[in-house]
Amino acid sequence: MSTAPEDVRLQASDPAVAKAVAAPVLLALGARGGFDVARLDEFAIALDIAIASAVPGPVRADMRLTGGRLSVTVSPVAPDRLHGRRVLLEELAAGVAENGDAIALTLDG
């Protein structure tokens, strides 16, 4: 298991591009963090949903693995698109926090 923080910052031109690229990166970070595949799978779904809630146009996804915690922040998201999905996100990720136009998801080891 990796102990040093590992950061990946991803900027995509469009949510569809971000979705295609971000999930494999998240899975790779999660594998390095020793998370089980069922939780990683659900966390990747949460990331899909967060990206699907993004405002059309450039999307940013900042991922970090540190101290047994995997986190990803997606921005900019549209509050109205996120609204109906919040409950589901909370089932799929250990932590969900909105901050302005960004949403942060966390998974703890």
């Binding site: 295609a20 899975l27 089980d36 595949v37 990683l40 899909d48 109205d80 109906g84 589901l88």
Partner: protein, 261 residues
Amino acid sequence: MAEGTDALAARAADGDPAARAELVERLTPLVARLARRWEGRAAREDLQQAGMVGVLSALDGFDPGRGTAFASYAAPFAVGEMMAVLRGSAPVHVSRTGRDLAAAVETAADALTAAHGRAPSPAEIATAAGLDEEEVVTGLAARRALAPPVPDTALEDAAGTDDAVEALEARLAVGHLLGELDARSQAILVMRFGLSPNFVADLEHWHYDTFQIKWRPSVAYNFPRGFVTFTIDKNGKTDELKIDQPNNDFWFYELTPHRVK
């Protein structure tokens, strides 16, 4: 005399770019003919492009020694890719290697989960399956691409609405419900077709609400990989069954299954 298509396919499979280009040109009319069936439901160019991706992906497994013409062998692959375009569920093509890794990861993960009563880590899967961790991650990513658990179109058609979220929750719930069954019950899902008694398949859990079709030897047709997807209603009862079995002879998706009890 022009080289036969099968010989051309064999050379293309060996990595000959000229043979590959000629094969694409030669099979374009076949792909175009197949694509015509779904014109109006998707852009013709998209269908033909996807169909050709299917043709090229068929090169990996083509064995001229089995006596099947390459065009016949490749047609189901082309149809499968076109169907994926119609479903909007395959934005990324999954290579044969990716499909094999996904299957290896799935098999190892299921065995480890059954043995230890918990989901394994990618490192544990790597050890069990004889893969390295990068291959496991590739397999996990390919598995998501093959059976995407989040239908983008459903979310985008009804972005932010409760209906879309409920539909997704129902899809996820199938996997959870299956996990509550004992191992024997999980293993005895069998698909039968009343009017064709030889058509029998075991359904092996693949991902969430999706099962891989394992046709029994009584089925003479050599189908490529296929899937069955269940949906459940708000009461947890099976609501719908969809069969996605690419092939050029039997149009399973035209069947309308009915609950009998």
